[in-house]
Structures are given as structure tokens and as C-alpha cells.
């Protein structure tokens, strides 16, 4: 299916129809402090059709929530454990290309070798409508350099690109073309000048951007060619606020805990991560990574070095959420620029 066009006034109609066919419509919304976050707007409404910048928290939180039940403990005494099926149909609207790229990475991770069923069942029942970027969301963002923006190349079901009078629509999957087929009257063929307009914007955005040679960077990290003082500095600045791992769209580490009362309860997993000193601490108290700088190094190396070895691409998408939130001004972008120079 070729590129299509939807007029501004028809988008709301489309959204209303999509809401009818899903259990959760997860879309950008302004919260009380005017920050943009993703929220379920199926009943509550208030979704933003278009928005500036990117959401504070990535939509990852709906697929890998801060805490999530893994299964139900029906009886501790008898050892009865039951899965908790999640059959909710979710539509994600207005997801930025960097977060779409992050979803591709998360999919390969969670569906690799041992399949993570709690993640898989949510992912497979979800539809992703991307909204490409017309300008950089923050001064720190470097999605173009990381090949994750301003337009998603794959991983979406539909992708919207804003132009003056509406949106260009790219179809990325069967799920996407089904939406088009079911709402035929809302879509039209774009005029050549509309496509030209989008192309011009894209050109402006990508101007001066230099793709990062991530293989070279990974190679340098692999051969331990980075000055040890760089890690020392990073370690000194980190205050273990865990903002980076909380906001990162590709962070996936977790811990487990039980919540029981009497003979029953649930086992849940909660987001955890490498900055915490207890992350690698074993029973008895010893840890293979006692130094703080090694915890942050692990974060950087995982994304920029080891994942390049495993998946062929880094798992940093340049969304800059970790940079903007860091109280110690640690910048993965600066790190890349300084090292890859």
C-alpha cells in the first residue's frame, strides 16, 4: 500500500473509531504540570493529536510496567501457581520514531531464546501508530545520529507525518492496512506537493547530522581504549537517582518480589537496574562489581558495546531522556562524541 493522506479534521474521527475497537488507547496527554506523558485516554479523553517534543516517560512503561504480576500464587501450601493472561487490546498512538526503534530492540530481546510471555502477550495484542518528528524534541536529542529518527523506518503499524493541512500516512504492517481498509473514506491519495513538503522538513532536520560510527565505538570500548579517567568522572557524577534507567526506552532489567497474604498472593517483577549497588550483590553480601563507576560503565557498555555485538546495532536510540534528567549532567551523547571522535 502506498502513502496516504488524512486531513486534520478526520484524525479525531479515526481516533474515536480506533477507541471503539480497543481496550486501552494509549496516547500522549498533558498532565497537570503540562508535561507530556502517555496515558490511557479511551474513557478519559484528552489525547493530543500532535505534540511538541517527546513524552517524559517512554511508552515502554505500558509493556514493561514499573511493577507487574508475573503469575498468581493460589496456594503456597500446595504449590499452586497460575498464569495471568493479559488479553487487552492496546493501541499506542503518537509514538515517536526513537521509541518505535526501541520497541524493535525490546522485541528482539524479550522474544529471544527463552520467550518472555508476559511481555509477548502484551506486545502481540498492541498496535503502534507512530508520529514522526518535524523538529528535534530537545537540544540534547541525537536520534538522527543514532539512526532512530526523525522518521521510523520500520516497527510501526501506521506512521503519521504532519504537513500543513493534515498527515501523510505510511502503512508498515498488516495490522496497519486493516485500519486503513476499515476506515477507507478517511484516507485519500496525497498530492505530490504534500510529499514534497514532508521531504523538505525532513531534509532540514537531518541537515548537518553525522551518523555515529557505532561499530568503531563498540570496537574501542571492547578493546578498553577509553581513558580510565572518563569512567572515574562518570562514577563521581552519578548520584544513583536511577532517572536514566527509569526513562530509558530500552532498559529492561528487573527484579522479582512476592506479595502474599495468608496462603495466596502474586509474584511480581519490578524495574531494577545497574546503577544500584545491590543489583549484583549475592546472598552473603559479596558482589562482583563493588565499584560505583563500574555500575554506570555497565549501563554504557551494554547499550553501546555489547548490544552491537549481539544485535548488530546499539540499544541507545538518542532520545536524550537520560541526559535531560541527570542531576550530575552525565551525557551519553557527549560520551559518544568524545570517544568516537
Amino acid at each position: 500500500m502506498g502513502r496516504l493522506f488524512i486531513a486534520k479534521e478526520d484524525i479525531q474521527t479515526l481516533i474515536e473509531r480506533l477507541k471503539e475497537g480497543c481496550d486501552e488507547f494509549i496516547a500522549p496527554k498533558k498532565e497537570h504540570l503540562s508535561d507530556v506523558i502517555f496515558a490511557d485516554t479511551k474513557e478519559a479523553g484528552g489525547e493530543l493529536i500532535d505534540y511538541e517534543g517527546n513524552s517524559v516517560i517512554s511508552p515502554r512503561a505500558f509493556l514493561l510496567p514499573q511493577t507487574e504480576a508475573l503469575f498468581e500464587i493460589k496456594s503456597i501450601k500446595d504449590g499452586k501457581f497460575f498464569p495471568i493472561p493479559d488479553k487487552k487490546k492496546r493501541i499506542f498512538y503518537g509514538v515517536r520514531p526513537c521509541d518505535i526503534k526501541a520497541l524493535i530492540l525490546m522485541r528482539s530481546f524479550f522474544l529471544d531464546e527463552f520467550v518472555d510471555i508476559p511481555y509477548k502477550q502484551k506486545l502481540e495484542n498492541s498496535t503502534f501508530i507512530a508520529l514522526s518528528c518535524n523538529r528535534l524534541c530537545s537540544e540534547e536529542a541525537f536520534c538522527c545520529e543514532m539512526d532512530a529518527g526523525p522518521v521510523a523506518k520500520e516497527g510501526y503499524d501506521l506512521q503519521l507525518t504532519a504537513i500543513g493541512k493534515g498527515y501523510l500516512v505510511d502503512v508498515g504492517s498488516e495490522k496497519g492496512s486493516r485500519i486503513i481498509r476499515n476506515n477507507k473514506k478517511l484516507f485519500a491519495k496525497p498530492e505530490p506537493r504534500d510529499e514534497k513538503e514532508a521531504l523538505e522538513t525532513l531534509k532540514c532536520l537531518a541537515k548537518g547530522c553525522k551518523r555515529i560510527d557505532f561499530k568503531k565505538l563498540a570496537g574501542m570500548m571492547n578493546e578498553d581504549k577509553i581513558k580510565p579517567s572518563v569512567w572515574d568522572d562518570i562514577g563521581l557524577r552519578c548520584v544513583v537517582c536511577s532517572g536514566c534507567i527509569t526513562l530509558c526506552p530500552t532498559c529492561s532489567c528487573f527484579s522479582i518480589a512476592d506479595r502474599v497474604s495468608g496462603d495466596s498472593g502474586i509474584r511480581l517483577r519490578y524495574c531494577d537496574g545497574c546503577p544500584y549497588s545491590g543489583f549484583t550483590r549475592m546472598a552473603g553480601g559479596s558482589t562482583p562489581f563493588p565499584l560505583h563507576k563500574d555500575h554506570i560503565r555497565r549501563f554504557f557498555e551494554h547499550k553501546l558495546n555489547y548490544d552491537v555485538g549481539r544485535y548488530g546495532i546499539p540499544s541507545c536510540v538518542g532520545c536524550a531522556r537520560c541526559i535531560n534528567t541527570c542531576p550530575g549532567n552525565i551525557s551519553i551523547r557527549k560520551f559518544i562524541e568524545e570517544v568516537a571522535k
Binding site: L70, F71, I73, I76, K77, D78, G79, K80, F81, F82, P83, F109, F110, D112, E113, F114, V115, D116, I117, P118, K120, Q121, S252, C253, F254, S255, I256, A257, D258, V260, G265, R267, R269, D272, G273, C274, F279, T280, R281, M282, A283, G284, S286, T287, P288, R298, E301, H302, N305, Y306, D307, G309, R310
Partner: protein, 280 residues
């Protein structure tokens, strides 16, 4: 859809053996028909759940048996293990697995074998030692060369599997060296860390295989000294311990340089360990 890998199956405690003052061996059997967990190989581990207390990895401490029973040895060191020590016969716990890799069983054939264990590090090596001494699976003792076992503990009372170790001493072409860090009146054997026994090793270092497990300081110093004797890096295998929450390469706790100790290990050759930049 595939089974939820996080879901444990119930297992009953058939028997509990007091191994040392702070260690118990649990003899377990799966309840019902889930026999998947039985098909494990020496060196693999399983996840043990005690609902309300959480879940942790434990190595299989016995080689697979016909009746489906398997053993884990649990030292009382933390929240979960303290709770486990309060369990009684017939109590039910959750288990899932097996996970992780096995020792290079094929590579071991016809070779002389050296086992070095410290403290509870004997547990992961025990299924392997039993495998060598057993006559099951179409193999027997003649398929392997000489065997030497070096086992060090803090005190004489901290030694695991006391009765079985005596039986190992009677196996043909087998030597067992025991040592303790802090001897008491009952002890008339060797004193010191495992490395003090190394001069007694009679095996040909160039062709023998070495299997280690123990506290990280022990693994580190034992590998250093064993290399000095001429044993080959690629023939040295260690079973490593890491904090793990899932056992299936997802939770990230045991991640080292792109490898997961739970799925790529827990048994690594020293050549692999060097690549990962770890010594223990």
C-alpha cells in the same frame, strides 16, 4: 502460546539431610506429571521458589536419578535460605528449570580429571563426580582416566557429603585430598587453603581437565596456581555464582560483557572467563 517460563511447578520435600551446622540438603520430587525438570545434566541449575520469600538459583547437587528425585544443598546465608531451613518433610516448594549449560561431558572422556572445590562449591561438582563414578547412561568408570579431588573447608564440621566422600576414596584410580582452614581436635589431616594440596597432584597437567567451584577468592587463587603447574587454560572450567532473578537471560543481574551467566554459563572455561574479564 508457549508456557510462561516464570511459572514454577510444585515439588515436595521428600527428605532433609543436615549436612553441616549451616547447610541442609533437600531431596525433592516434582508433584504430578511435570517431568521436564528431571532432564538435567551435571552443572545445570534450577530456580527454587518459596512464595512470600522469593526465588533464587540453586545448583543440582546430585546426578539425575531414575526415581525422579533430585537434591539441592542450601547454606543458610540470606532471607530465602533462612526460610528454607525452617521447612519440613512433605512441605511444598516451587521449582523451575533446568537452566544453564553443562560441563563439557564429551571432552572429558578418556581424560584425567581434577576437581577442586571450596566449601559449598562441592555441590555443583558432585553431579559431575557422580556421573564419572556411575555406571549409568552407557558409560562407566573406565571411560575416564585418573580422578583427583581436592576439597577444602573452613572447619572439619563444614564438610558436605561426608559419607559419600569416603566412598569416593575407594573408587579405583581416585585420590581425594581434604583440607581445612581452621583445624580442631578431631582433625589430623592437612591444613590451609586448597592450593596447599597442589604439590600432591600426580596428574599430567598438559592433558588433564580441571573443574573448580568455590568462593570467588578461592577460584581466583586456585586458577592462578594451577596454571603455574602447567595445566591448560582451555581445560580449566569453573562454575560461577552470580545474583540472578530469572534464570533465562532477561532480568539482567548476572550480565557480564554481553553474556548471561544463567544462559551462557554458569560453567565457563578459563579461556572464556578471560575474554569476559573475570577471574572468578
Amino acid at each position: 502460546m508457549k508456557l510462561n517460563e516464570y511459572l514454577p511447578v510444585p515439588a515436595a520435600i521428600k527428605d532433609i539431610v543436615d549436612e553441616t551446622p549451616d547447610t541442609k540438603t533437600f531431596i525433592l520430587q516434582i508433584k504430578g506429571r511435570s517431568n521436564r525438570v528431571f532432564k538435567y545434566k551435571p552443572g545445570q541449575f534450577l530456580m527454587i521458589s518459596l512464595p512470600g520469600y522469593g526465588e533464587a538459583p540453586f545448583t543440582f547437587a546430585s546426578s539425575p536419578s531414575k526415581d525422579g528425585k533430585f537434591q539441592i544443598s542450601v547454606r543458610r546465608v540470606g532471607f530465602l535460605t533462612n526460610a528454607m531451613h525452617k521447612l519440613k518433610e512433605k512441605d511444598i516448594i516451587g521449582v523451575r528449570g533446568p537452566y544453564g549449560n553443562t560441563f563439557p561431558l564429551d571432552k572429558m572422556e578418556k581424560k584425567d580429571l581434577l576437581f577442586i572445590a571450596g566449601g559449598c562449591g562441592i555441590a555443583p561438582l558432585r553431579p559431575l563426580i557422580q556421573h564419572v563414578f556411575s555406571t549409568r547412561g552407557g558409560k562407566n568408570r573406565k571411560d575416564y582416566g585418573k580422578v583427583e579431588i581436592i576439597y577444602g573447608c573452613r572447619m572439619p564440621k563444614d564438610r558436605f557429603y561426608k559419607k559419600e566422600i569416603k566412598e569416593w576414596m575407594d573408587e579405583p584410580d581416585t585420590k581425594v585430598y581434604l583440607t581445612v582452614d581452621e583445624p580442631d581436635q578431631t582433625w589430623d589431616g592437612a591444613c590451609g587453603v586448597v592450593c596447599v594440596m597442589f604439590p600432591r597432584i600426580k596428574l599430567n597437567p598438559k592433558t588433564s581437565m580441571v573443574f573448580l567451584c568455590g568462593p570467588s577468592v578461592m577460584i581466583k587463587s586456585a586458577i592462578r596456581d594451577i596454571l603455574k603447574l602447567g595445566f591448560r587454560e582451555q581445560n580449566i572450567y569453573a562454575s560461577l555464582e552470580r545474583y540472578m532473578k530469572c534464570g533465562i537471560g532477561k532480568c539482567g543481574h548476572c550480565y557480564i560483557k554481553g553474556k548471561y551467566v544463567c544462559t551462557d554459563g554458569p560453567n565457563f572455561s578459563y579461556t572464556q572467563m578471560k575474554k569476559l574479564g573475570i577471574t572468578s
